[in-house]
Symmetry: D2
Subunit: 356 residues, 4 copies
């Protein structure tokens, strides 16, 4: 395997004829930023602190930068700002206020052409062969040298083959963390208990008599067991069970649509967000499948770069969905570096599993 993540081009600050230290204002109350606060993008942003340009070791779009010490800049959600936090201010990105945004940091000659291509819309008619081939390379590389987070919509477990394909990938070591909702976990375990999802057989498509009880029965059983982990001691199939067996961490975020919920599902959506970000901080590759809510949430929390063992490299983000609208929406919300593939996730997973 020859694949290497794109090399990071350090900015050459000697060419930047500016040396102005970034300004901050202390927050007057918890949860409120000073006027003119600076908000982060998905790109690497350097802050000039007393003449030295500091790159925060983690970032998140639409958050503020808080100066903890001369070397440490923390990236903080509005709700997590504390009184007296030193919030960096300024809304330019060219260094003139001590803030420098470094957008084209992974662009080489080859990818410049790609950038041109990206200006065209990506649709169901885009040729995805090469995107698949590159994804296989990224997954193989990051299995050994990175951290692969999967964001899963419930459709993944609605089909026999795709559910099995994902279990295979867990077993082969391609899954370092899972972000999903109550429905994914519920219907995956319903598939174990009854071979159904929402009462319909995930292979034969037959409807089980009284099958609309199936997910409720499953939820009630897991609640009785006390925890997902406890319940999984007595089952053998499915994605949730494979996560438990292989110590793959998962975050199941609650939503207003939930029945139950299963024990372990986050009721507080901002605590869920924090738990998701804990996974995404480590991520070198994020693959999102057929869920607009969790994908945009994850996209918002994922910067275009990460620092792994002192080396800055890209985070590769993929979004697989059957509609152009959903895919474009992630870009329209700021996640410009995503690679979208327009297809059914069932086929996507079957193919990926066979090729890695």
């Amino acid at each position: 395997m020859n694949f290497k993540p794109h090399k990071y081009l350090e900015p050459d600050f000697t060419k930047l004829d500016i040396n102005i230290t970034a300004q901050y204002v202390s927050a007057k109350s918890d949860g409120i930023a000073p006027d003119n606060f600076h908000a982060m993008s998905i790109y690497p942003e350097y802050f000039n602190i007393e003449g030295e340009w500091i790159l925060p070791n983690q970032s998140r779009m639409d958050c503020v930068a808080v100066l903890r010490s001369e070397k440490f800049i923390d990236i903080v959600e509005f709700r997590n700002i504390k009184k007296n936090d030193k919030v960096i201010i300024g809304r330019t990105e060219d260094g003139s206020e001590g803030i420098y945004l470094h957008a084209d940091c992974f662009i080489d000659e080859k990818s410049k052409k790609d950038t041109f291509g990206f200006r065209q819309s990506r649709t169901r008619e885009t040729a995805f062969s090469k995107d698949y081939d590159k994804l296989y390379e990224v997954l193989k590389h990051d299995k050994e040298n990175g951290y692969i987070v999967w964001v899963l919509g419930p459709a993944v477990v609605f089909d026999h083959d795709s559910r099995n394909a994902f279990v295979n990938m867990i077993e082969k070591g391609y899954v370092d963390g899972i972000l999903a909702g109550n429905a994914l976990a519920t219907h995956d375990m319903e598939g174990d208990l009854f071979k159904t999802a929402l009462g319909q057989d995930i292979y034969t498509q037959d409807y089980m008599p009284n099958g609309h009880y199936n997910h409720l029965d499953l939820i009630n059983r897991v609640r009785k067991a006390g925890s997902i982990e406890e319940y999984c001691k007595n089952i053998e199939t499915g994605i949730v069970n494979a996560c438990v067996s292989h110590n793959v961490p998962y975050v199941f975020a609650g939503s207003i649509r939930d029945d139950g919920p299963l024990p372990g599902v986050f009721a507080n959506c901002y605590k869920a967000q924090d738990a998701m970000r804990d996974q995404l901080r480590k991520a070198t590759c994020v693959v999102c499948l057929a869920t607009q809510l969790h994908t945009i949430a994850s996209g918002n929390m994922t910067p275009s770069y990460t620092i792994k063992d002192g080396v800055t490299r890209p985070v590769y983000i993929y979004y697989v969905d059957i509609t152009e609208f959903a895919a474009n929406k992630l870009k329209d919300r700021g996640s410009l570096s995503v690679t979208t593939i327009i297809t059914n996730v069932q086929d996507f997973l079957s193919q990926v599993d066979k090729n890695i």
Copy 2:
């Protein structure tokens, strides 16, 4: 106006040659139902309690029935079951276990034909003229004699005309409650502050310089004001402001996608669900616009009937979305009585406002 809600046909239990009292089992722990629990549908369901058939005065799909007294059956979510609750058991619906589901309770000769029509798929090519005309009648009737709840996706405030149309409807008295998320409220108030949504002018489509700060600035200002109500004292336009001025209750449910959030947004999604259900318990008409998450959540909580001043009548549910998939999904999740309209909600609101 001649419109009257469909008349309720009481079941004739004298024709039912069964008189078996419904059985219950006491819950052994909080949040866990006994085996063989009965789960509710969207339809009226009668329980035979010592020979008398009792209709719960409220219902909710996928919840359990708890016998509080001989006359009072409460419909309870799994997470709200308490130890020792008398949970009714049985999974038949024909009276043979003391449970009788009364599905065709609003069907008359005319609507029988409609029912046949409904078996065909509804698509962008369905003729919606009559559905609009009926909706106008329902809204006019329920403005005086009912409770109209609107479920709003953010697209409603992304356009100048549709945002204004909805404000008009609040002022004319057609809005009794609003269910939405942090984004709807944020971008509506961003529209007041900057005339933009996510930085783009909601009329001219121009991009405001540094406009990606707009929603963050708005959120920060409302957080500084301490509450939506306090902030609205100093603004004049928009849906949130009109709600505050006209005492229209709203529920803004948080989600993992949120920036901020605004003060007053529910962080706990199950408490948000409870607050939504409090609105939906009163609803005689529910109109859902361009939000899959909030619509399916609301659909799950809305039965096909309500009892208003002692009279049982239908709850009219509409779902307006631009994709057939979203509309069908609500039906596939059990909300069979919904009327779907496949269009852009901008045009929908402009038209409805002009015709009522």
Copy 3:
């Protein structure tokens, strides 16, 4: 391989307490049917001719039945009716006018359950694993014992892998005929000449300089060669070339969107229709990929049954498209027996090729 096409259940006319001969009226002019003409469905329909029930050996929805002799009933398009044709009249299907429609002729115990399932909507979230497995069986069986017609949208040749997959299937013998448009042929041969489709590389997605000339240059070259066959003598890749090499017949129907067109493309759309029907008359399996126009056209011309070596068997129809709307539309236009798969045809073809 154990797969056998569903067995045909002959109608038992002895149980039908009717013996009325079908009536006809002679057409007064070319192209015009008599009043009360009978129009065909997709199902087998028997006509009582002097006491004997005759099944036409071919059929087509929305056409009329013309009595040629006591044993031969021809199914004719309106535009092909000739003066004095004996057009059968009557609009009942229960035998009372000598016309008997035999809808459930392939239903066995197992498929009765399937029929129930089919009443639910099929969407991107339907479990397609078993449909794939059955399709593999049908293709393997009909490769030896049937006639497999493929209906192709241009997206098939927009991607490197799917274009190659289809060429493989031609070479393996799974393709007996192709129905498509000028665009499919043009961009397939553009892929041979320049490795592009509409100027974009079908593997790398790079845009070739002045690539918008590519399809025009290709068309001009084929026109200069005089025919597709002549042009293919000097090329080596692609679907059109594989058809020519392997003597697979194709019909390329012209449309108002065409540049060129290529030589051999039908300018007259009704002559194209006749040529398509000639292929579809022989078909035992029809697989339609990502083209609404050609799929609905083909669906309209394909009955649910065919008679092969004296045996009546089903025609298996598949429609693969990325939108539910397109798939449903085929059903809404009368092709009730189709199996729809909602996915990107690129992945569909890659998968099918690997599994047969």
Copy 4:
């Protein structure tokens, strides 16, 4: 009304330091262009003929330029090239081969901002209020000072209100020509005869018994009448009838999907194309509704400019469709100047009719 079409900015050839006459090569055979032919874009293109820059008075994308005389350059489809035609060659657009493409000819300061905005994707969530307001202005202006061509998909006549709205617009003078297919005409006249489209009532949605015969009966009647015009002498409602009454020309292009067809429908799709182009040559405004086939065909034939009474002005093109994919596809096929509106055409027509 203050609306004026964007003013044309003549290119300043004095600033272009080039004076090279365009080269041509005579075609050696009918229908075949010489190598290195120049293909037209949607924009104004000037050809240097012996030192003078000539703008063809009509254009069409993907066609060749044929020099008829020193002052007259004809724009010709490949299939219409004749032997000895002087086909201009060269594939640069900066004047260096005597060909100058003038893309930004209608751009003023204001619209430069618009251009920036246009680079973002247009979706269901785009604010369309201003696009509607501008469309009303264009229609009012061009009713008196232009030529408005409508391209109609069958969905327009599937709904009672939208069908009536379009008839109103014909009567008010907003329709100068119609381009559509056999289905639009058939179902419109079916709506007159039976109040149905494909057997379903266009207002009540009820299914008429044996309604699948309705369109066939209508077709048969019109064929019997001999022509659409003759048939319309005895009917009173609908779009086709209004066209006949008000002498609005129509082109009904045949397709492989057609039943019938109606008399007057073009069987030869390239003759249909020629007839469509005859309408589009005159067009100052083109509004396309819910038909991908006819819209892309029309878009391909419509340049971004027209010369009306010696004045060069834009052709305003609108495409209204419920999917982003269809709208984007028109742009991906080269029609960059189109304004897309993502909505249901039923609502679009009802709104437009009420506002003009």
